[in-house]
Amino acid sequence: MSHTPFIIGAYSIGAIVLLWCAFAPLLRKKSITRDIRRLVQVEERSRDTNT
């Protein structure tokens, strides 16, 4: 039995999990940044209507 597929499998699962684990917070950060930008816009608009 060739062991190569198992080695490739193990390393690719490891790579996928660890890469996902590394990139998940970056995706989260992107969505938070978007939220903040929207929040700032809403605040500015309400300030404009007030003055």
């Binding site: 062991h3 190569t4 193990a10 490891g14 684990c21």
Partner: protein, 262 residues
Amino acid sequence: MNVETAKTNKPRKNAFVMFIHKMGSPPWFYNFTGKFIPWFWAIFIVLTVWGLYLGLVKAPADYLQGESFRILYIHVPAAWMSLLIYISMAIMAFIALVWRIRIVEILAMTSAPIGAAFTIVTLAAGSLWGRPTWGTYWVWDARLTSELVLLFIYLGIIGLYNAIDEPRKAARAACLLALVGAVNLPIIHYSVKWWNTLHQGSSISLMGGSSIDTSMLWPLLIMAVATKFYYGANLLTRARVKLLEQDIRKAWVREVLKEKNG
């Protein structure tokens, strides 16, 4: 009786408290750690490439296990990390519970998903190693079973942290659970190990032969160091994002993002 109108005066603090305060101040932490993260990633990548080159290309095949032993270069470092991250999380959880330091709460809680990821890698690599070695993907051997229980504990901590709404309360609850788990983990580990010998489980040792060739040991050590830098970089990244998320309405977050956008 006197009731002061308390609008202006800030609570007075001594120098030490001020220092701790600064260390725990979100903008300071955010900017300070931001400088390290790229370096951590760079070191991780260099070490990983070097370690994998030595492990997958240079090292000779094991005379007992054949090529499949190469899986150990990811399995063993991941298994070490799954435990080390738990220990580091438990220590931070203790500090967070006793001194109520927010940044440490966040660090403890962001450790959990990373630890869980390493545990999943350990289990996957372990069972892929098991197929050529034992002839089956899953064997209830002591190491894999302990790792499985460890994964459940990690998932419990993550689940509890996400289930409670108020972030500080959630962190404190999950930190307490992490500590309870830390007390239990050695007991679980030894009872599982002992359970395994009791039921005459598989006894093939992970490291193959009794003596390890240095050409096999080096890549293992390099990978072990590399994963620590991965943990450091990932932990700090997650902690910074968590801070942004929690302080979304605070002024410093806007400042930070404005600076970045130029």
